[in-house]
């Protein structure tokens, strides 16, 4: 569907040279929602803008359905752009046009009468659940509503691909969820291939099938969302997962000698993480019953990616030392990662993390 081949973009100015995108190759399949996550300045926007050539790549090729966009004439490029919708963080609606005229903007020169354009706009407004706003001006809309209009406008010419550059970053969490739901719905209903740029982990978790992690202009890790986040290989990916969880708090609690981390002999603080798609089963109660140990949950950070649980649990485990060891072996068998955070089993030894 979309293929990027060795794409690079370097910005040259008098004072500096910025390699915003470095030799990126990426494939996004038909019907996929692909997330590109990275910190601010990682080069995500530049990369996505290279797809519809809002930014001319310094080198490399961009293909859409096998056609090389980077080799097109200006005229061909403009026609192709009509088949690539794009939405932005700041919505970028036309302030002087009413909602339906915003949506009808890209329909111009499509050979439609004014009435046909208005009908099409109405149809699209219904699709984004904003039917009552056709004659309102953008300044009278909330952020979420503006983004819905922008989405409707981006879909006007039945695009094959939708590019979203931080489309929810200016929205509050609740509105973000509703926009993400809408994107998911459009993806399902229209089979719309979607590329989502974000610096927020939960966006990727909520709607993406596959994702790529970007750092310093490069894609450092790429894959199916579940495996990417269950088994992060790169520091930056791990950091994203940490920011989305409260697990990092445990270290400061230990430093502060919080009451819950003052272990009695034989107790350990352990972190369990789901490593692979595993049957969702009641692991905590299962191991405690089966191995006769106590598992006292301190933090739990579980999310559902598709039908598999992602995330983990930090808990104080107490009981017979051998039973605990057996329980841990059992969990490893079930593809649950176990990390010792604090161990008070052997009194002579101090903590190791």
């Amino acid at each position: 569907m979309v293929a990027l081949e060795n794409l690079s973009k370097t910005f040259n100015s008098k004072t500096s040279v910025v390699e915003a995108v470095k030799n990126v190759s990426l494939r996004v399949e038909q019907g996929e929602i692909h997330g590109i996550i990275g910190l601010s300045g990682a080069g995500k926007s530049t990369l996505v803008r290279c797809i519809n050539l809002l930014e001319r790549p310094t080198s490399g090729k961009v293909f859409l359905d096998g056609e090389e966009i980077t080799a097109m004439s200006n005229r061909e490029l403009r026609l192709t752009r009509r088949k690539i919708g794009m939405i932005f963080q700041q919505f970028n609606l036309f302030a002087s046009r009413a909602v339906w005229r915003n949506i009808a903007y890209p329909l111009w020169r499509g050979g439609l009468t004014k009435k046909q354009m208005a009908d099409r706009a109405r149809e699209l407004l219904a699709l984004v659940d904003l039917s009552d706003k056709e004659n309102v001006y953008p300044s009278q809309l909330s952020g979420g509503q503006k983004q819905r209009v922008a989405i409707a406008r981006a879909l006007a010419n039945n695009p094959r691909l939708l590019l979203c550059d931080e489309a929810t970053s200016a929205l509050d969490p609740q509105t973000t969820s509703s926009i993400l739901e809408l994107l998911k719905k459009l993806n399902k209903r229209l089979g719309l291939t979607t590329i989502v740029i974000t610096h927020e982990m939960h966006v990727v978790k909520e709607i993406c099938d596959r994702a790529s992690v970007m750092e310093n202009g490069e894609i450092v890790e790429s894959g199916e969302v579940f495996s990417l986040f269950a088994n992060p290989q790169r520091r930056v990916t791990q950091d994203f997962i940490e920011t989305a969880s409260n697990f990092s708090k445990i270290n400061s609690m230990i430093d502060e000698n919080h009451v819950i981390t003052r272990l009695r002999p034989g107790e350990r603080i352990l972190k369990f993480r789901y490593m692979e798609k595993s049957e969702a089963e009641a692991l905590v109660s299962a191991v405690s019953r089966r191995f006769n140990i106590d598992v006292n949950v301190i933090f739990a950070n579980l999310e559902w990616v598709g039908d598999a649980p992602l995330g983990g649990i930090i808990s104080v485990v107490s009981g017979d030392s051998r039973n605990i060891d057996e329980a841990l072996l059992y969990l490893r068998d079930k593809h649950v990662g176990v990390e010792v955070i604090l161990d008070n089993t052997r009194v002579s030894e101090t903590n190791y993390a």
């Binding site: 700041q90 970028n92 302030a95 002087s96 009413a98 903007y105 001006y137």
Partner: protein
């Protein structure tokens, strides 16, 4: 108002002359200034028809003409006016220097009016496949109607000042009327009436600008 009442025909003639100068030079300055202002915006670095050489040239030429005092333009342009209009006096003779006087100023105002438009909106239009010409017509000019209207009313008011000055060197009109009778023959009521008419004219122009701007702000 004995002096004014004694020459209603001359007053009327002065008024129509002023309006004629204003109409002609205003329309021409509007058109040329608009084209130049748009050209500045689109050829600028990062513009939709980026062209460094053209931008620099326009920029320099506009600055050059802006820096010449109008009274010197009036004199300096006489030969050119003769060639273009066949005369350097009267309404016809005044139009050329008026256009040269107002256009550079208006082009700059259009440039600044259009530069207020958020670049994101231009990008959105590009991402939807709009051509540069389409972006000029359907985005820049459409989205900036309010500030263009404001700039136009300022330009027209400036033109009224300039017409008064042009009047002093043989262009006719209300400025000429006021100087010839009010000033030189000390007919003070002529000056007052002229001032009142010009004030009314300015008010009407400003109001029109404001109304158009308000109607196009959503």
């Amino acid at each position: 108002m004995p002096n004014v009442m004694s020459k209603p025909d001359i007053l009327w003639r002065s008024m129509t002359d002023t309006l004629a100068m204003l109409g002609w030079s205003g329309s021409l300055s509007f058109l040329i200034g608009l084209i130049l202002g748009v050209a500045l915006i689109v050829t600028k670095k990062g513009g939709v028809m980026e062209n460094g050489v053209l931008y620099q040239t326009l920029d320099k030429v506009i600055n050059f003409f802006r820096s010449i005092p109008f009274i010197i333009l009036l004199a300096g342009l006489i030969p050119l006016t003769r060639i273009m209009m066949g005369t350097a006096i009267g309404v016809r003779g005044a139009v050329v220097p008026l256009v040269f006087g107002a256009t550079p100023f208006f082009a700059r105002q259009i440039e600044s009016a259009l530069s207020e438009l958020d670049g994101g909106v231009i990008e959105a239009a590009q991402s939807m496949g709009s051509s540069p010409l389409e972006i000029i017509l359907r985005v820049y000019l459409k989205e900036c109607i309010a500030s263009i209207a404001r700039a136009t009313s300022i330009m027209t008011v400036t033109l009224i000042e300039l017409t008064a000055m042009a009047g002093a060197v043989g262009a006719g009109g209300l400025g000429d009327f006021a100087i010839r009778y009010g000033h030189q023959r000390n007919q003070i009521d002529v000056t007052y009436v002229t001032v009142i008419i010009l004030t009314l004219l300015v008010s009407v122009i400003q109001m029109t600008g404001t109304v158009i701007a308000r109607k196009n702000t959503h």
